[in-house]
């Protein structure tokens, strides 16, 4: 059953005198900081910049596809557009999106620690991200890359004269940024928990980040060495993937997808964490089946390592291994469904309120379910051979990544914005933005399922005229979606100065982060917290609030 807690009067809230934001001033105090909260803000700013650069390329792609012939740009320019869109969105936005920003800010607070285990490594990881980002921009300004984000050999090693080396190095460097973030999270969650914070008292946000971190730590090094081999092949001509010298391009695919499939779960698992927190808070109920949800994250991480070859069904892997990988792929649907069902049961008989983060969370649940189920289509071999390399697959992973992860990211940013900045975002316009995003998203990507099913291939600048109507719909949707993304940027910036003062716990949430002032102190806690209650215990919160009122009275 849900426990109703009255929202506190925000009129009486005031900004705390001391916080991590005003502890020190000046650019240097930010660029040399060891504070996980400041590093989270640095990340938030940099990934937002790259999100809009990547979004610009998406806009150009949709604009080109408005008409059937390749008329706005030449075909090879179009190739560069979708490659830059993919590289920037995957490596510089989606992978660090929730973990490096919201996760960085919250994980130490949620486990009751003063900081991540290795603050300097955390700062280093941001600098590596920036170096990776600058290298991507360098590849871009020097003339771009047109391999697609997958760097397929021998196309990338032999047949292209674009800036593959620069882009490869960029991803190598950015990869280490994600390895260090994951490593820091795992060590922090193991070693820095406050007294009484047992594994099963951790918020599910921490569990899902733990699972994602395992993937980052084990998967990313394989991508790193694969890119090193591609770069060596391009620079000096070694022959590990070169068929002319006896190498096998299929090995590249195995190694690449050994990272890049788990990377999909790196991108989505932290989003699951956000949704668990948001759904629980706005239904005022403990997450249904806490243990199942926690372990489903771990299960996704484990299964995630054994499904990579489903990206390669048409590439000449043996039928038997394809069969095994197909079955394993469908297995991933089980823990994903556990999450969706448990969130639905959390809503059941809850006191649901429809604040903006909750709207995004609803969007997430619907769109992720569609994205996930179409993933099962693609995991079954017969369907995959029909649908792979078509717009169906484009629609599928955009439903998961944009409809899923980006919605979760926006849900998280809105949900914890009061904690990060101490101020509320404007509720009315942000609800409108959530609605616009949802409508725009469906308008953009749903037609692509149909296009793909009808056989429109991905990665071409031109298409037959009979596909135009659906493409026009999709481009129109992209415009709406663009508005949905620019709006939060504007009103969140506005709220930094003019937003209502939030107070420490505007949502009456139970998490440890809501029991401290907003924005938090640099050291997070005045004294080390001792945890004697379960996660999502609204009874505890209600008693605590009552007790506080009594002592004040």
């Amino acid at each position: 059953m849900s426990t109703i807690v009255m929202l506190p009067d925000q009129q009486t809230a005031s900004l705390p005198k001391r916080s991590y934001l005003n502890e020190e001033y000046g650019l240097k105090s930010w660029l040399l900081t060891g504070d996980h909260k400041r590093i989270a803000i640095l990340y938030l700013i940099s990934i937002t910049i790259f999100f809009f650069i990547g979004g610009f390329f998406a806009g150009m792609i949709r604009l080109e596809l408005l008409t059937p012939p390749s008329d706005l740009m030449a075909a090879d320019t179009y190739n560069k557009m979708f490659t830059m869109h993919g590289i920037i969105m995957v490596f510089l936005f989606l992978v660090p999106s929730v973990p490096a920003t919201i996760g960085n800010f919250l994980i130490p607070i949620m486990v009751g620690a003063k900081d991540l285990a290795f603050p300097k490594v955390n700062l280093l990881s941001w600098y590596l991200y920036v170096v990776g980002g600058i290298l991507v921009l360098a590849a871009l300004t020097l003339g771009g890359v047109d391999t697609g984000w997958t760097f397929t050999t021998p196309l990338s090693t032999h047949y292209l004269n674009t800036h593959v080396i620069t882009a490869g190095l960029a991803i190598f460097v950015a990869g280490f940024s994600s390895i260090f973030t994951g490593l820091n999270f795992i060590v922090t969650i193991h070693r820095m928990r406050a007294p009484g914070m047992t594994w099963f008292r951790l918020p599910l946000f921490v569990w899902s980040h733990y699972a994602a971190s395992v993937l980052m730590v084990l998967g990313t090094p394989v991508l790193a060495i694969t890119l090193v081999l591609v770069i060596l092949e391009r620079v000096i001509g070694i022959g590990v993937f070169d068929p002319a010298k006896g190498g096998d391009p299929l090995l590249f695919q195995h190694l690449f997808w050994f990272y890049s499939h788990p990377a999909v779960y790196i991108m989505i698992l932290p989003g699951f964490g956000v949704i668990s927190e948001v759904i629980s808070t706005f239904s005022r109920k403990r997450v249904f089946g806490y243990t199942a949800v926690a372990f489903s994250s771990v299960a996704i991480a484990v299964f995630g390592f054994f499904v990579w070859a489903h990206h390669m069904f048409i590439m000449g892997v043996s039928n038997y291994s394809a069969l095994v990988f197909s079955l394993l792929t469908m297995l991933v649907a089980v823990p994903s469904a556990i999450k969706i069902f448990n969130w639905s049961f959390t809503l059941y008989k809850g006191s649901i309120t429809f604040e903006t983060p909750m709207l995004y969370a609803f969007g997430f649940m619907g769109l992720f379910t569609i994205g996930g189920l179409t993933g099962v289509f693609l995991g079954s071999m017969g369907m995959d051979i029909h649908l792979t390399e078509t717009y169906f697959i484009v629609a599928h992973f955009h439903f998961v990544m944009v409809g899923g992860m980006l919605m979760a990211f926006l849900a998280g940013v809105h949900f914890w914005w009061p904690k990060m900045t101490g101020r509320m975002y404007p509720e009315g316009i942000s609800k409108l933005a959530a609605l616009i995003t949802f409508v725009g998203f469906n308008l953009t990507f749903f037609p692509q399922f149909i296009l793909g099913y009808l056989g429109m291939p991905r990665r071409y600048a031109a298409y037959p005229p009979e596909f135009q109507a659906l493409n026009v719909l999709s481009t129109a949707g992209a415009t709406v979606l663009g508005v949905g993304y620019v709006l939060p940027l504007l009103y969140l910036a506005w709220s930094l100065k003019y937003g209502k003062i939030a107070g420490s716990n505007p949502w009456q949430a139970t998490g440890l982060e809501w029991q401290i002032q907003s924005p938090p102190l640099t050291e997070n806690f005045v004294e080390t917290p001792v945890i004697d209650y379960e996660a999502y215990d609204y009874e505890w919160l209600a008693n605590k609030t009552k007790h506080e009122v009594q002592t004040v009275g």
Partner: protein, 246 residues
């Protein structure tokens, strides 16, 4: 009140002294700090295993496919130099372990000596490796830059029992040498990073940084050094000793 405050003040000073200067602000105890650092290092080594793992996986596949080419390639390497290098690295692991021991027993001079010895052995290894690379270059065994199948389509004077390879298999020795350079190159890069870190550690040890109870950096660097050593222990038989058992 005031006199009480003054009276309690020295006590506060004393409790503050219980925290050694190297205890970072976000840890509760020295023990926690040390455990955290060691755990982080082990996890980092796990990522390193995955990093090298990609190449070992490629090695496994190609060795099965092109076994004769791998044997012929392996027979072009100098077992003497490889063995000497293996011995050098094992010795350097010993000196490193002694360094950790000296840090634990708070012996500054011994720590510096052992670390310097480790640097010397590391450099000896890299020197021998450079010499081997140079020889490969002269024998035209560098795929891409400077490669010729010449040595593989005729008899190898050092191994009279080996038959010359047919041309298509001789071509595949490029895969062997690609992996040889990629794997030993990545290993050498780790050695170079290790030696650079050692120089920093020696400079800090000079000021007495690690001999007053703060052993963790030396201990964790030792883990890294032993790891790089173990990678070589795998590389040596896989690259130098193919077909030795026959």
């Amino acid at each position: 009140m005031d006199s009480q405050a003054i009276a309690t003040h020295p006590e506060h000073e004393e409790t503050a002294h219980e925290h050694p200067p190297f205890l970072r602000h976000h840890f509760a105890t020295v023990e926690q700090q040390r455990e955290t650092a060691t755990f982080g290092m082990w996890l980092f080594l796990l990522t390193e295993i995955m990093f090298f793992g990609g190449m070992f996986c490629a090695y496994l596949i190609y060795r099965n496919w092109y076994y004769p080419a791998f044997v012929a390639g392996s027979h072009q390497l100098s077992i003497v130099l490889g063995t000497v290098n293996t011995a050098v690295l094992i010795c350097s692991s010993f000196t490193m372990a002694m360094g950790v021991h000296s840090a634990e027993t708070r012996n500054r001079k011994a720590l510096i000596t052992w670390l310097l010895l480790t640097i010397v052995l590391g450099c000896v290894f890299l020197g021998i490796k450079a010499d081997e690379y140079h020889e490969k270059w002269e024998k035209h065994h560098v795929p891409g830059l400077n490669f010729s199948v010449h040595d593989f389509v005729r008899e190898n004077p050092a191994y009279p029992d080996d038959k010359p390879l047919p041309l298509d298999m001789a071509d595949k020795t490029q895969v062997y040498f690609s992996l040889y350079f990629a794997m030993t190159g990545m290993h050498a890069l780790h050695m170079i990073i290790g030696v650079s870190l050692l120089i920093i550690l020696v400079a800090r040890a000079w000021t007495g940084a690690y001999t007053e109870g703060h052993v963790a950096p030396i201990e964790n660097f030792g883990l890294y050094w032993h790891f790089v050593d173990i990678v070589w222990i795998f590389l040596f038989p896989l690259l130098y000793l193919i077909s030795r058992h026959q």
